[in-house]
Symmetry: C2
Subunit: 162 residues, 2 copies
DNA sequence: AACATCGTTTTAAAAATTTCAAACGTTAAA
DNA sequence: TTTAACGTTTGAAATTTTTAAAACGATGTT
């Protein structure tokens, strides 16, 4: 016999740590874990209560999670007073993509600076120029593989549900 | 004519922001940018001076950067009193791998919990079980693509240097 | 052997982030 | 129209993280 209560707590704690190590708010991880676990959507008030938190931060976190497309609102036909939340079906893809977009965004730094550096024929600039070029090439290749990965995943996911 | 001083400052500032958005210390980004830019290796004292910081935090940051294999020590034949630092030639690969290892590590959560959940035949567990299975499959596929990417990159990198 | 220079560690202050409590606005039910 | 329940925003307190200063240890030079 497995202890359900313990399992839920462990999932919540571990997701909190994981999110924190990615530079995100620990509470974000807690909310995601709770919603991953919950068989039914939960309202903000319920989430706050289950996590022993006040509604303030939970409200802010839920907005961020919606911005990141990790969580979504659903409307309950029987109770349209409350907003209910559940994890996005594409939560893993989206989490990965968010991370990837961040990296891609940073690649622009290299691209832009490379252009500026290219204008200078200065000897001291050569090292930097080469490095920026390498950085740009690296992330371009990464992007290509990312696309391949997503395409393959969609196919695999369909098999999984069956 | 391009303003070298401005370019260096921009690179440093942008890398700081980028590192921060990944949950890392801003100063880490500054040091990495400075070393990416510098045509020659720099000592800890020089780095601290160039960034207008004290030696304490720079010392700690350099250790973390070495742990992450983003920066390495080099010994100068002419001055073996000081430790000199430069970026690792594989800095981009390693930065990516560190990020990936983090994700991989978190995948273990899913794998372990999946095993625990599988033991329970509880109806409420079914949703969670399916999600954990999906998470595991997602990251396993990701790992495969990561390997392919690195192999292809090594080949491309050689062409770049030529 | 004494001195000087460099990097590390520690401790305390400063800054940033997270958190809650309470006020506020909105919407639906009575 | 009033009331009640819910989510959001705001301001202040608490916590965490970052930072610098200074003490410390090690290593090479005189």
């Amino acid at each position: 016999m497995i202890n359900e209560e313990r399992l839920r707590k462990e999932l919540i704690q571990r997701f909190g740590d994981a999110y924190k190590s990615f530079g995100l708010n620990k509470l974000m991880g807690h909310v995601v874990a709770l919603l991953l676990y919950a068989p039914e959507p939960l309202s903000l008030t319920e989430i706050a209560a289950l996590l022993g938190r006040s509604k303030g931060p939970v409200s802010q976190i839920l907005r961020r999670l919606r911005d990141h497309k990790l969580v979504r609102k659903v409307w309950s036909p029987e109770d349209n007073r409350k907003d209910y939340y559940e994890v996005e079906p594409e939560i893993f893809e989206n989490a990965f993509r968010n991370n990837f977009d961040l990296i891609k965004n940073n690649t622009r730094i290299a691209t832009q600076l490379k252009a500026k550096v290219a204008a200078a024929k200065d000897k001291k600039m050569e090292t930097l120029h080469l490095r920026m070029k390498e950085m740009e090439a690296f992330y371009q290749l990464m992007e290509k593989h990312h696309r391949n990965f997503l395409a393959e995943w969609i196919a695999e996911k369909n098999n999984l549900v069956k």
